[in-house]
Symmetry: C2
C-alpha cells in the first residue's frame, strides 16, 4: 500500500513538498488505538529504541553498582547534541568503569548542535567519539560489559555477548524475532533490526506501563523512561524537538527520535505506545507527525494539545528571519 501524505511543506500559499508516512498507536496488550498507513511494514527504528537497548544497563545491576541516576540513564537513552554537558557526563560514566573514550567504538563526528560545533572549532578543538550523538548509549554499553565481566572489545558487533543481551531485550519487548535477515548496521556500528511499526508501538506501551513484563523489567523500563522525562535536555540538546515535546508536559510524554524519520513515543497515562516513520526519512516531517499524533491523543488537555499543535506547524524562515512558509500536518486519514 502507498502511505498517505501526512505532512505538507508550504511556501506562501502553495504546497512545495510533501511527506508520506505511517503511524501506529497500540496499547500494551497489542490492541490498536490508531493506525495510519501501513503499520505492519518493518522499519529500522535506529536510535528511537535506545531506551529498550538500555534495559541491560539497569537489569544487570550496573546502573546501581555505578550509582547512575536520572542523568546518566537519560544520557544512555540519548541522541545528544555533543554539547559540553553531554560530553562531560559520558566521560564520567566511562570513568566509573575505569575506561575512557578510547574504548568507544561508535566513531567520531562534529556535534549535531551547530552552536556546539562552532564553539568547539573556535576553541581549536576537533570532535572525538564522545561528541558522537550515541556516546551516552555506548558508555552505558561499556559499563554493562565491565560490570558483567564481558570483554568489551568488539561490543558493537552482532554476535558479541553484549549485543546478544541487547537483541534479547529488543525481541522480548517488541515480540518480533531479530535475525540476520532483518538486520543491518547502524551509523554507530551496532546492529539495527527492521521491526514492524505496530510492534514498536506495542513495545513502548509495555515500556511505559510494565504490562506483560516481569517485575524486574517493568521496574527497569519505568526507571529509564522516567529518567528521560526528568532530564530531556540530556536525551537531546539545545533546540531539539525531543526536549521541547518532553518539556511540554513533564513526566507525561516520552519521545525519542531515530534517524531516517522515525519516532517512538509513549503516553503512560493513556497506556499507549507510538511508533511512526516518514517514508522518505525526513526528520522535519517525523517531528510534525509525532507532535500531531500527541496532540490528538492528549486533546482532553486543551492547553497542552494547543501547544503540541503549534509545535506541529513550524515556520519556514528566509535568511533574514521573515516567515515565508510552514510545515503542517494534513487532515488525519484515519
Amino acid at each position: 500500500m502507498t502511505n498517505p501524505v501526512l505532512v505538507e511543506v508550504l511556501r506562501g500559499a502553495i504546497v512545495e513538498s510533501a511527506h508520506r508516512g505511517a503511524v501506529a498507536v497500540f496499547d500494551a496488550d497489542g490492541k490498536p488505538f490508531l493506525e495510519i498507513g501501513d503499520a505492519t511494514r518493518p522499519v529500522f527504528p535506529r536510535s528511537a529504541v535506545k531506551a529498550i537497548q538500555a534495559l541491560p544497563l539497569v537489569e544487570s545491576g550496573t546502573a546501581d553498582a555505578y550509582g547512575f541516576g536520572d542523568r546518566e540513564l537519560a544520557l544512555a537513552c540519548a541522541s545528544h547534541s555533543g554539547e559540553p554537558v553531554h560530553v562531560e557526563l559520558a566521560t564520567a560514566m566511562l570513568a566509573k568503569a575505569g575506561l575512557d573514550r578510547t574504548a568507544l567504538e561508535c566513531g567520531a563526528h562534529w556535534p549535531s548542535s551547530h552552536d556546539a560545533t562552532i564553539a568547539l572549532a573556535r576553541a581549536g578543538g576537533s570532535p572525538n567519539a564522545l561528541h558522537n550523538n550515541c556516546s551516552g548509549k555506548h558508555s552505558g554499553f561499556l559499563c554493562t560489559c565491565v560490570h558483567s565481566g564481558i570483554a568489551h572489545q568488539g561490543y558493537v558487533k552482532a554476535g558479541h555477548a553484549f549485543q546478544e543481551m541487547v537483541r534479547d531485550a529488543m525481541q522480548s519487548v517488541t515480540g518480533v524475532a531479530h535475525d540476520a535477515d532483518n538486520s543491518a548496521t547502524d551509523g554507530c556500528s551496532i546492529p539495527t533490526y527492521a521491526v514492524p511499526l505496530k510492534n514498536l508501538a506495542l513495545g513502548f506501551a509495555r515500556m511505559a506501563t510494565g504490562r506483560g513484563f516481569a517485575p524486574e523489567r517493568a521496574k527497569a523500563a519505568n526507571r529509564l523512561l522516567s529518567a528521560c522525562m526528568a532530564e530531556p535536555f540530556l536525551v537531546a540538546g539545545t533546540g531539539k524537538a525531543d526536549v521541547a515535546l518532553m518539556q511540554a508536559a513533564p513526566g507525561r510524554i516520552f519521545v525519542k527520535t531515530g534517524a531516517e524519520g522515525v519516532y517512538c513515543a509513549a503516553v503512560p497515562e493513556l497506556g499507549l505506545g507510538i511508533a511512526l516513520k516518514c517514508d522518505d526519512g525526513a526528520a522535519r516531517a517525523a517531528e510534525v507527525m509525532v507532535a500531531s499524533v500527541l496532540a490528538k491523543l492528549l486533546r482532553a488537555d486543551e492547553a497542552l494539545a494547543a501547544k503540541l499543535s503549534e509545535f506541529a506547524r513550524p515556520p519556514i524562515e528566509s535568511r533574514i528571519g521573515a516567515k515565508v512558509g510552514l510545515l503542517r500536518p494534513t487532515a488525519a486519514r484515519n
Copy 2:
C-alpha cells in the same frame, strides 16, 4: 496522480526509505523526450533557475561593462559553498559597482561547506551576507541595477524594477506567466514562482540551444551556461554534486540544483533540457535522480554513462567509514 518511487535508500539489503518524484526532459520546441510522474505540476524551481535570472546581467551590458568573464558569470549562477574563493569573487564583483556587502539583501548564513564553516570559526570569524550561497547571484543583481541606473535599494522585492526584469526573463524563457498567485518568497528574499516541470525543461533546452530566442538572448544564454560548465567549482564548491556532474563531461553537461529537491539541467549536444523534483524535497534523492537521467540520455558514451551511474549509487557510511548501505535509482517507470 501519485509520482513513482524514483530513489531507494538501502541499509544492508533492506529498503529503509524511499523518495518519489517527477522528471521532465523536453527539447526547445516543446517536444517531450521523457516524462516520469506528473511533469505538469507547478514546482518552485528555487535556485535551479539562477542562470535564467542572470540573463539581465548579460543582456543589459553590465557583464561587458564590468569585464565579467566565466568566473564572475558562473558565480552569478551559483549556489556556492561560502568558501574563500566564492566570498572573494563576490566582493570583487560588488566593488566593480562601487558597492560592498552592506548592499546585499540576501541575509547571512554559515557557509554550506562544513569545512569552510570550521575554518571560519577557527579564524574567529562569523558569517556575513557574502557567505550566503546566493551572494554571487545577488552581486550580479546589484551590478545590473547600478549599471542600468536602477536604484538598488529593495532590489529583492516583487515589483522592484529589477525584479521585473528577472520576472520578464523567466516568463519569456519558460513560456509561463509569473504572477502573484503562483509566487512566494525564496530563502534569499527574492520572489520565486511555481512553474510546471515541463516548462522548466523547455526553458533549459532553449537556454542550451538558443532555439526560439532572439540572437542577443541566445548569445547571453550560451555565455552563462558555458561559464558554469567552464567554472563548475564556482557554481557550487568542494564535494558538491553539481561540480562532480559538470566535471564528469566538461562542456557537455549543465546542472544546477535548487532547494527542496529540484534540479534543472541541459545536455546541449542533444538539444534537451531537464527539470525534476523529488516530492519530499530531499537533495540526496534529487542528486541520484539527475545523475540517473543524465546516464540514460548519454548512454551512447559508455564510459561517461558508467561514471554517471556510479554517481547515482552513492554509499551510506557508518561513523567509522564502513559502507552500510547506499542510495540507488529504481527501475525507470517510463
